[in-house]
Structure formats: C-alpha cells, structure tokens
Amino acid sequence: MQPDSSTGLNGKGQDLKIVSLISIGQHPASGRARRAEQDGRAVELGMTLAASSSTQNLTVLHAGDSQQAALRSYAGMGLESVRVLQLRESADAVKTLSEYLHKHAPDIILTGVRAESGESSGMMPYLLGESLGWPVVSRIADIVSIKEGVAEILQALPRGQRRALTVRLPFIASVDNAAPEPRQSAFGPANRAFMEQQQCHSEPDTARNGWSIVSARKRPKRLKIVKAKTAADRFKAATAKPQGAGGKIMKNQPAAEQAQAIFDLLLEEGVLR
C-alpha cells in the first residue's frame, strides 16, 4: 500500500484536532538534551496532517519545564508555539496530561514509542489510553487517510513490513522510527517561538518515590550461533530482526471464539489472574 497523504486526507480532515506530545531527548553519544527522534517524528506527522487540512489544528504539547532549551529544537521545525504544562520534576506527567487531554478532547494524539530520558518505560501512550478510554495504536509509520471519522494507518513491523489498520477516531498512536524523518530545525523560528506556559495542578509521582536509581550495567550479549548453509541465509541471519514465533491467525472464526483465544493467552502469560 502506498502512503498518499496528499489525496487521502481531504474528506473530513478539515476540523481535526491533533496533539503531538514531546519530551526532552538525549543524544546517545554525548548525553546532551536534544529533540527526541521519535517525538520529532510525531511532530512531523502532526505537521503533515495539519498542513493537509484547512485549519492549523496542531498542538505540540510538553509536560515539564518550559525553560528547557531542547523544546526550542521542536519549535524550530516551524511551530509558532509550544504548549507547556508546567510541572516540577517530581510530578507525574501522566495525570496532568490526561486531565488536559480529557478537557480538550483532540481527535489524534501522537507520541514517541518511548522517551530517550527519564523512566523511558514506553508506558505513556498506554497509560493515557487507559485513562481516556481510547484505543492505542503502537509503532505507526504513517497515517494514510482519514475519512468519516476513520483513519487508515500503516503500522511498522520488523524488516520494513507494514500492516494496514483502520482505527476509529479518537485514538492515541505511538510513532515508530520508520515514520518520515522530522524536518530540519531552524534557529530563527526556534528562537522566536512562544512557549505557551500553562500552570496546572500536579501530583507527585508516588510510585517513583520508592525507587532507587542506579546507572545501567551492560548486559552480556547472548552469542548468536548461525547455522546457515548458504550465503543468503547468513545474510538474512545477520541483518534480520528476530520475529516472534508461534501464535496463530484467526480471521474467520466467530468473535466469541477469537475473544476466548485472547483471554486464554492472557491467562497463560500471567497477565490476567
């Protein structure tokens, strides 16, 4: 399927409200604060969607410190403002964000898959989805079209594969590295952008209080024994990401049977007790 955002987004795209959530990234080599790669892609996707609709309805939202210089590198992509929910470092961003999002009720919320700094648990989209009661689509590569309240989405799978999904609005999507790269951040607009600060009620992250944080240890890597016979196999083994084995595809069975299979699996994996 060819992503074709220029034609597909007409229809009912006009009055879409999009929110891209951004965090403070961290450069892997220098450890310096920067525009996070996936969050940058979330903004890029949001900007492309907003540009193809008639009204500029993209809000770029950050929960944290509005003085953080790295926020300006998102603004340098051509944003007039960045909305910041002012929080203390100890605060729980999920609660404040979900309150804000509940109140403003956007149609699409875009986030990165996981933050580059902080807890970096990758839980944010799920926690937001839980509190808002919205579907969460993980690791999307593109939003192909939005028609009559239904979005056609490409989800990124390993080895360049894509899965086409249709999702009813509103939804939360985490943006994969396979999504289009964020545009260049320019100094002028970055410097001039307005940091729209919003004071808000915040609660301390009580769960985190009990944690003690130590720096990560490099874990030993399991040796990969390649039993390939041909050069093509060796190449595949060297380049391919491992794909989960097992599972089964149920397409034609009745819904009750499909639900039962999911329930059984969750029990088996110990997710449900």
Binding site: A29, R34, S73, G76, Q184, F187, N191
Partner: protein, 649 residues
C-alpha cells in the same frame, strides 16, 4: 545657427538625465540595510584604490589593462574638457588640442575594445556589451571632428558653411547623441557604463576596506542573532554597500572562468549570480542577461524584486549550495565584488530561517549541536587517535609554548596519519607543545559555511572560553579551515570572554610553523628521493590567508623542484571540499576533484603535496591510477633525520 546651440543642449540634457538616473540608482542602493562607512576617507582613497588595487588585478591581463587605461582614462579626460569646450564654450586652442589628444587616446582604446569584441571568449557577456565599442568609437570620433574647428585645424564655420558641412554635422549629431546616451545615460540608467559610476562608489564605500593596499579580509561577517530575519531573504536585506557592489559588475566573466562549480556543470555561475542580484535589487526578470547561464538552467525564467524572497523565483537554492567558498571568483574580480559573502548571507536565511540545508546538511548541523563534531562521535572519543602518543594535555600543564589544534581530523583515520606525522615532527624539533584534548571542539567552519552562524558562534565562544584558561604563545593547526576560523573569524566573538586573547597570540598553519623550524635548523632533513612533486594550494591556506610560500619553501628545503600546475598559487583550483560542498552534494556533470586531478596529471607529477586534510580526502577520492596524495608533514617525516635519544631531554 542651429548647431551653435544644438550640441551644448544635447550635452546638458545628457548630463541632467544622467544626474536624475544617478539619484534613482542611489535610492536603489539605499534600500539596503545600514552599514557604517567612512564616506570622506573612502572618497579620498577612491582614486588610489582604482589606480592600484583595481588596476593591479586588471593588469593580470595586459591587453585589457592597456585598453582600459586608454579608453577609460581618455574618456574621463575628454568628458571634463568637453564640458569646458563644448558646453561652457571656453575658447582656447590649447584646450581644444588637449581634447583632441585625449579623444584620440580614447579612440585608440576603443579600437582595441572593438577588436576584442570581434570574437569574444564565452566568459564575456554579449547583448548591450557588444554595442559598447561602437558607442565608444562614435563618441570619441564625433567629438574629435566637432573639436577640429576649435583647434584651428579646420576653418571656423566649416561645419555649417556648405551643404556637405550640413550633412556632416547632421551625421555627427547622430553619433554624438548615440555616444552621449551610452556614456552618460547608460552610466546611471543601467547600461554597460553603469560599472564606471557604481564601480567608483563601490571602491570608495567597499564593505571590506582592509582589502585595499595589499591587505586581506576574508573572515565572514557575524550575524546579529536577535534580528527579525536571519540572513538575507530579499535583496533589501543586503547591506546597502553590498547592493552597490553588485551594480559594479562589468560582466567580464573572470569569475565564471575560474569557478570550479561552473566548470563541473553544477548550477552556479558567479557572474550570473551577481546579475541576478541586480535584477532582484531593481526588479524585473533576467531575460536581458546575455552571458553564460547557470549550467543546466535556462535564462529568462528568473524574476525578482527588492521585496521578494530571492530563493523563490530569482535563484534556485541549489545554485547557492553549489559554491565551495573557494574565493577564486573574489580573487579574480577586477571590481572587487564579494560573491562569497553574498552566497553565505543567502545560505544563512535558508538554514537559520527555512531549515532547508540540503542532503546531509541538517544531520551534520544537528551533530555539531549535540556532539561538537560533524559526525556525531562521542565527544570524549576525540583523543582516541592519540592513545599511543603520550601528548601533554593543557588541562594538566596549564601553560605551553604551542597549542596543537588537532581539529576534527582526530575522528578520521586518514587524517590521523597527518596528525601523527606532525606530532613526530614537533617531538623531533623539541617543541614545547600541548593539546586541548576533549576540551577542543569543532572550529565551526562547516556550520558557518552552511549558513548556521548560531552554531558557529556557540562553538567559537566555547572554544575561546577554553583557550582563555591557558597560557600559550601560538596555536598551530594542520587544518586550514580551523586555521582560518581561529585566525580571521574568532576575534569577533572574543569580546567579553577574553578580550585581547587574539592580540597576544599567533595562529599558524603547520606548514608555516614547520618552515620556521626547518629554516632555524631545528629539523634535519635528508633530500627527498622520489619522482616529480607538485603542490596543491588549499583555498583556505592560500586565498584566505595568503600563505603560498611556506609550503613551497619546505618542499624546496627537501631538494624538491616543484612541478607547478597552471592553476597554482592565488589561481589554484579548489579540490571541491570547501564550504560544506561535500555535505550538500549538489549534482553536476563532473566532480571538481577529478578536474583538479587532471590539472595534476598535466604536470606529470607522481606525488601531490597538500597542506589540508580536506584536500587530501577529496584528491584521494579520485579513482586510481592517479598520483599519490600526501600532506607535507607526511612527506617531511620520510626525510626526517631522527635525533638520537640523548639529544632529546
């Protein structure tokens, strides 16, 4: 009598219209941004600048310099005397004779201009410029005949005494009108003679007056980062004297002939660029331009105006990104126009406002911001190359004679060979030196040439702050780009951090420093045993810093007789590696490095001596078979007589 008043009226009208045109033209320039200029000093210095600086450049082409001296000098003298004799009616036979002499001078010059235009080289613009020699001949010829009666050669009243005289007078009048409109109206209303008017004022109010009298001014001007728009978006965003400079162009195409990007078929022609700036300043289209186009682009498609964005309709951004900032055009320009300044000004807008640096540009700039080096290596791996070198760190020793500025070659394995060679030479000569280690940051050269002055300024200020902590006498670097930044550009940013840092230290290129060591007998060298050697002048060492001699002297001290390329010294052809060109990588028909290698191969050299890691990389990127490429430091260690251990302390 009709003719008694006809010619004076013609002259007076032409002068008046020229004056009106001049006011209009000046207003076009005044639309530019303010720039403080010492008007009086500039005007006083102008004739000297014309006779020396400008003429020295024209003098490189003897034919043209003599032609121009005769034509231009003859015209200026003639015009002054025509005003006295024909307009004010001063009756003096001596003056009339003097006028005849100067008109003859002008006529002879014009004949040579005419000859040049019979079969003009492709670099010259055609169109109105083909008309110019005829107008020159008409002007000088007609006024010559008109002056004859006053000099007593022909009887007074000869021109109106007979029917033949009447006809002759009528013909003369046509020629005079033609000559006057070209020479006087054309000067201020935009004809070829505009170069005389704008050129004279450009010399007086030049943005880099340091260039006159043999000086050098090559550092880019800083951007005030709190401006409304960063860089140049529309023609009005240029400084007023930059606009004036564009108008001074004579379309001689010397720039086009030396431009490496033009020769490589990339969409850049410095002459067309300057003419497009004139189109932008005055408004209109480039349809009247009669010179070579940007390679691969048609003429007549570009439109501009003083308030229109240049890169939307007037100039394709690819044109701006093709430039290697080698300054060959600036060096060659007889009108001393600053092409590179204009190009970088417009790049600044593209990068800092539009965020549209092409290809790898954005990635490199992001890396420079996040890791202080263009390839995103971990900042603390900067000294990995020297793990076995036992180099003293400034953070330990605090004080040294020489700081060895390693530059980003530290991350590149080929460049590391140059660094190692240089370190070996420093140790052999017993130099007291140290390195900054991980404290050193990228010099910011690439960021600045790519138009990101914000990142450049941040790097420069942090480097200056680091340098200001230590005591040292000189900085020596193997990288001419870092050398240029440190020597010519950093001083603008030292204020408030280390005000007089750059007044008290010396910045040297390693070839200069090594030459000092060799001449002082601190390095003992065996004669070079090998084949023919040629030397490639790096742009940022030669044209940017005037260092042509030290590398050659070093090679000579090895007993090498350099097989010079036709384009060497100030005419050296760029390797294609400057100005971020390998990063923006604008497609052309050929590669600049390949063309440079052809230059090398015509000398029959087996070895190219280079003084720049970037040139080394570009030239080694040319496919084999080709001559070997070595930095001068690498050539020196091969011939180094290593001191015995006890001689070292």
């Amino acid at each position: 009598m009709v003719f008694e008043w006809l010619h004076p009226v013609l002259i007076a009208t032409a002068l008046l219209l020229a004056a009106i045109g001049a006011v209009r033209r000046v207003n076009l320039w005044r639309a530019g941004q303010a720039e403080s200029v010492d008007f009086v000093a500039g005007l006083i210095a102008m004739p000297g600048r014309y006779l020396h600086d400008l003429h020295d450049i024209v003098e490189r082409d003897k034919y043209m310099s003599k032609t121009h001296a005769a034509t231009g000098g003859g015209f200026v003298l003639s015009l002054a005397m025509i005003v006295l004799v024909h307009l004010l009616g001063l009756e003096s036979q001596i003056l009339a004779w003097a006028l005849l002499v100067s008109l003859t001078l002008m006529f002879v010059g014009a004949v040579f201009v005419f000859k040049r235009r019979l079969n003009p080289p492709s670099r010259l613009s055609k169109g109105p410029w083909m008309r110019l020699p005829k107008s020159l001949l008409a002007f000088s010829g007609a006024f010559f005949i008109l002056t004859l009666p006053m000099a007593g050669v022909l009887p007074e009243g000869f021109l109106s005494s007979s029917t033949g005289g009447w006809i002759l007078t009528a013909v003369l009048t046509v020629f005079i009108a033609m000559g006057l409109s070209e020479m006087l109206l054309g000067m201020t209303w935009g004809g070829p003679m505009k170069h005389a008017f704008a050129g004279a004022l450009h010399l007086a109010f030049h943005r880099r007056p340091e260039r006159f009298g043999g000086g050098r001014s090559t550092g880019l001007k800083p951007v005030a980062l709190d401006q409304r728009v960063l860089g140049v978006q529309k023609p009005e965003d240029f400084k007023w004297n930059q606009l004036l400079g564009f108008d001074a162009c004579v379309q001689c195409g010397k720039c086009e002939a030396v431009c490496p990007a033009f020769a490589a078929g990339q969409p850049l022609n410095p002459k067309k660029l300057i003419q497009d700036m004139v189109v932008g300043m005055a408004g209109g289209s480039d349809a009247d331009y009669a010179g070579s186009p940007y390679p691969g682009k048609e003429i007549g498609q570009a439109n501009g105006g003083p308030l229109l964005t240049i890169t939307e309709g007037l100039i394709d951004p690819q044109t701006l990104w093709s430039c290697t900032t080698c300054r060959a055009c600036v060096e060659e320009c007889p009108m001393m126009i600053e092409h590179v300044d204009a190009i970088v000004d417009m790049r600044r807008f593209l990068t800092m406002e539009k965020g549209s640096t092409p290809n790898k540009g954005a990635e490199v700039l992001d890396n420079l911001i996040a890791t202080d080096n263009p390839n995103g290596h971990a900042p603390n791996s900067r000294t990995n190359w020297a793990a076995d070198q036992n180099l003293p760190l400034l953070s330990d020793v605090k004080e040294t004679d020489v700081i060895f500025w390693v530059s980003d070659g530290a991350f590149d394995m080929r460049s590391q060979r140059i660094l190692r060679a240089f370190v070996k030479l420093l140790k052999a000569a017993n130099v007291d030196f140290a390195v900054l280690g991980a404290e050193e940051l990228d010099s910011g050269d690439v960021a600045r040439r790519l138009g990101d002055d914000a990142t450049f300024q941040s790097l420069a200020k942090r480097n200056i702050a680091t340098l200001s902590q230590y005591k040292f006498k000189r900085i020596v670097t193997t990288d001419p780009h870092a050398y240029h930044c440190l020597r010519n550009e950093y001083a603008d940013f030292a204020e408030g951090i280390a005000d007089d840092l750059f007044d008290n230290i010396e910045v040297l290129h390693h070839t200069t420093f090594l030459n000092q060591l060799v001449q002082a007998g601190k390095l003992k060298l065996n004669p070079y045993k090998g084949g023919t050697v040629t030397y490639h002048d790096p742009c940022y060492l030669g044209r940017y810093n005037g260092e042509y001699e030290a590398p050659r002297e070093l090679l000579r001290s090895l007993g090498i007789e350099i097989a010079e390329m036709e384009r060497s010294g100030f005419r050296s052809r760029c390797c294609g590696g400057g100005g971020g060109a390998p990063i923006t990588d604008i497609p052309g028909e050929r590669r600049i490095a390949d063309m440079r290698m052809e230059d090398v191969q015509t000398t029959g050299a087996e070895l190219i001596a280079v003084g720049c890691q970037q040139c080394t990389a570009m030239l080694e990127g040319v496919v084999e078979p080709r001559p070997q490429v070595k930095d001068i430091a690498e050539i020196l260690i091969e011939s180094l007589v290593e001191p015995l251990a006890k001689e070292l302390h």
